[in-house]
């Protein structure tokens, strides 16, 4: 099980819960399982099979270059964060 941190503006979909334990070997699987428990959440995070515009996923504090394909280990922390670039 990984710990998924639910962004403040999505907590309406999770009954106000800010942290959830979710199974899955990749971020994509985690999102699928999350959506099964809390329908509608995948739609807010994923579009056309990839993370939505301007959303990145961080696993254990590291922003992943692989998005939904990023492996997730048991006990991992998963955060959905704003995508950033720089000058």
């Amino acid at each position: 099980m990984a710990t998924v941190f639910i962004p403040a503006l999505l907590q309406g979909l999770t009954g106000g819960r800010s942290k959830l334990e979710v199974a899955g070997a990749t971020v994509g699987e985690v999102v699928e399982n999350l959506d099964r428990a809390w329908p509608g959440i995948a739609d807010r995070l994923v579009e056309d099979g990839r993370l939505r515009t301007n959303i990145s996923v961080a696993v254990d504090g590291e922003v992943s270059p692989m998005g939904l394909l990023e492996p997730v280990a048991a006990g991992s922390e998963v955060h959905f964060v704003a995508a950033i670039s720089g000058g």
Partner: protein, 747 residues
């Protein structure tokens, strides 16, 4: 590898140096080609106007004119999201910013373009294009654009809340919120609370080279582009999207680039030059004027912020709250996301709420500018931190140290920090002789501030070919704005065990090198350097095989140490082995691509001494020290140079620079005389202190140093001004009229 490096940490002369001090280096506008036409762009004189009609007939009839184009000449491709390697943007926004369709959204918005054999003819002809506008009211600041009844820029835009489209028609493109703990409880616990509103003006990156691009729509259907850009692949992909052709049909050759700082990531000219070339069958060059640069390219957002921080008497920060409304300019993307992620990132605070709003206004579409979003946010936070320290009677560095973020600190946007150098930067500031030097005079003050930038990784490619004289050719795709050819070559040289002078780095076009993302996000020395490291490892592996062949042993039995291959009494230098490639299997080419993890954010701090003239309100910077965690300084002179350059841009932003807009939305100071960036005479030497907390995620510990240094100076100077004359400045720039006003208000 031991940490005793032979190349890393030295200060060699850059490989492109001779060309750049003799005038031989070819920058964007220097590109020449037979049959070249000159393009000139017509820009909207109104900040917000419906385009009713465009009559180009008179311009077309002007002698020497070869073509006139408008947005209607772009293909009518359906809108889609386009990934330019740094997140996605709707194609309609990219295309709409290149040439306006339907509406002009800011003064300076490109509307049409002319190509003629002579630049002067094109300039004359462009004035003959007759555009009928219906002028609309404009919204110029985030608070104004957010008001009920504000003029709406995009009728189809609906506010998004983390992926959720609401049904609100407004100028707010996006609202996000980060929550950590419970700020109600956190502020209840606080014994000292400070809260202020802040405003910052739009400022420009101010690179000295205006944008320049040449395009040839070749007879074989390929579009060839030569331009000054931070990312040749971004130009390729964006140009292909706008022209609705496959990416491989476009080849971009990056010229030398005269500064970017984030502002040379978007495309402005390339698709226009390409369409003009398609219509004329000749290459077309477009070079912006300085006014075009100010009015038509991405500045960095102005913003409105309201920030509140509370702490206990013992100096523990218990809660912090931020409301951030950033001006995106004409299209969404105000960099408020990174502002929200950095606003309290330097501190370990248990209870935080951050609300960010990305607001479109009738100003040029903003672009990245060195740690985009972070300097604005740190201006607010670091001013309040100084105020809190004073209220609590604590030294401002000690107060920061007590609350500093460390490995494991959870940021308000969620993730925990990995190994970072916030504490080490603060300690270096405290220990610096500058911090304890006497100020020596009235109306003088000293301020400190710190700041953070994430840095990014992103994709890079590199190949290294071994020459028979033992030198190597290194091919990469990161345009070199500040000596990165050399800092990348140094990492390869370190692995190969040869002098960096024997590595010949070259930045190649998009046909010749694998995908490489922009020179931006402080990523080049980190990520392309990493690709060079890996490619050099690949060379070493192959060279070991060749040595093994010579000695008829297993490759695994060969050791490589500082350019010497050896095994059991055998030994051969890299150079000698290079002469034997043909007979041991042919040429050796190492290659690598990366899309790295392990990005290490960088902290920076500054100590600033100022003297404020109470009669004129003028602030003089007496002494300035920049401190930054580089992880590992590959070429210390270039690291210092980044710190000095970023500091001075921060000083200009703090004290003087702004887009001075009249109520109609015209920038009235769109020349370098009136915009007034710092000159040599405005500044002292900029002292530097490089801190090295190696990034465990990079083979040499590199973090990337291009950006964090611009974050602290805004608040550092505001704090220094406060300690000089006793007024808290909450508006940028802190120019003489603003300071005088603040002094009068105090009386």
């Amino acid at each position: 590898m031991s940490t005793q490096y032979s190349v890393i940490g030295t200060r060699p002369v850059r490989h492109d140096g001779a060309d750049k001090v003799t005038g031989r280096a070819i920058y964007g506008a220097d590109f020449q080609m037979a049959g070249l036409l000159h393009g000139v762009i017509l820009r909207s004189p109104h900040a917000h106007a419906r385009i009713l009609s465009i009559d180009t007939s008179k311009a077309k009839a002007y002698p020497g004119v070869q073509a006139v184009v408008t947005a209607d000449d772009f293909p009518e491709a359906p809108d889609k999201m386009v990934d330019l390697g740094e997140g996605e943007t709707p194609l309609s926004h990219i295309r709409g910013n290149v040439l306006a369709k339907g509406k002009a959204l800011y003064r300076g918005h490109a509307v049409a373009a002319v190509a003629a054999a002579s630049l002067h003819d094109a300039e004359e002809a462009v004035k003959l294009i007759d555009v009928q506008y219906e002028v609309l009211p404009c919204a110029l600041t985030a608070p104004d654009a957010m008001k009920d009844g504000a003029p709406i820029l995009h009728e189809s835009m609906r506010t998004k809340e983390l992926g959720q489209k609401t049904d609100r028609v407004s100028n707010v493109a996006e609202h996000f919120r980060h929550v950590l703990g419970d700020i109600g409880a956190g502020f209840a616990e606080a014994e000292a609370v400070v809260e202020r509103e802040f405003n910052t003006s739009t400022v420009h990156q101010g690179y000295i080279e205006p944008h320049a691009a040449t395009a040839l729509w070749n007879n074989d259907g390929r579009v060839l582009v030569w331009c000054s850009t931070q990312g040749s692949f971004v130009v390729r992909d964006a140009t292909a999207c706008v022209l609705d052709i496959p990416v491989s049909q476009v080849k971009v050759t990056p010229t030398e680039i005269g500064g970017g700082f984030g502002g040379k990531i978007p495309v402005y000219l390339e698709p226009v030059a390409a369409i003009l070339s398609k219509q004329t069958g000749r290459p077309v060059k477009i070079v912006m004027t300085r006014r075009d640069v100010f009015e038509g390219t991405g500045p960095t957002p102005g913003c409105y912020m309201k920030v509140k921080i509370g702490a206990r008497k013992d100096g523990t920060i218990t809660a912090a709250q931020a409301y951030l409304a950033f001006e995106a300019g004409a299209y969404p993307g105000a960099m408020v996301g990174p502002a929200g992620m950095t606003v309290f990132a330097a501190y370990d605070i248990p209870n935080v709420t951050i609300d960010g709003y990305d607001v479109v206004v009738n100003k040029p579409s903003t672009a990245a500018y060195r740690a985009p979003g972070a300097p604005n946010a740190a201006f607010a936070t670091e001013t309040l931190i100084d105020e809190l320290a004073e209220k609590l009677g604590m030294d401002p560095i000690d107060f920061r140290l007590k609350n500093a973020a460390k490995e494991g600190t959870r940021r308000a946007d969620g993730p925990k920090f990995r190994k970072i150098g916030c504490v080490e930067v603060l300690q270096a500031m405290k220990a610096h002789p500058h911090y304890s030097a006497p100020l020596g005079g009235p109306n003088r003050g000293r301020g400190v501030a710190i700041g953070f930038w994430f840095n990014v990784g992103l994709q890079s490619s590199c190949t290294i070919a071994v020459n028979t004289d033992g030198h190597v050719n290194l091919v990469e795709g990161s345009t070199d704005i500040g000596g990165t050819r050399t800092s990348i070559a140094m990492q390869a040289a370190e692995v190969l065990g040869i002098p960096v002078e024997q590595v010949q780095p070259v930045v190649e076009d998009t046909d010749a090198v694998g995908y490489t993302a922009v020179t931006g996000g402080s990523r080049t020395t980190f990520a392309t350097g990493w690709a060079a490291y890996e490619a050099a490892q690949d060379v070493v592996r192959q060279m070991k095989e060749r040595a093994a062949k010579l000695w008829a042993i297993e490759p695994a039995a060969v050791q490589a140490e500082r350019g010497v291959f050896s095994s059991n009494g055998h030994s051969i230098t890299f150079k000698d082995l290079a002469t034997k490639l043909a007979t041991t299997g042919g040429p050796v080419v190492g290659r690598a691509t990366v899309n790295p993890r392990g990005v290490g954010g960088s902290f920076a701090g500054c100590i600033a001494d100022v003297e404020v003239d109470p009669e004129t309100g003028k602030t003089t910077v007496l002494r300035f020290t920049s401190v930054q965690d580089a992880g590992r300084a590959i070429h210390p002179s270039y690291v210092e140079g980044q710190m000095q350059g970023g500091s001075v841009q921060g000083i200009g932003w703090a004290l003087n620079e702004e887009y001075w807009m009249n109520p109609q939305g015209t920038m009235v100071n769109s020349s370098l005389l009136d915009y007034r960036m710092p000159t040599a005479l405005d500044l002292p030497m900029i002292e530097t202190k490089i801190v090295e907390v190696p990034n465990p995620g990079h083979p040499f510990g590199v973090r990337g140093v291009g950006e964090a240094n611009i974050v602290p100076p805004l608040a550092g100077l505001a704090n220094a001004i406060y300690h000089a004359i006793g007024v808290r400045m909450n508006r940028l720039p802190m120019n003489p009229p603003a300071i005088l006003q603040a002094l009068w208000d105090k009386k």
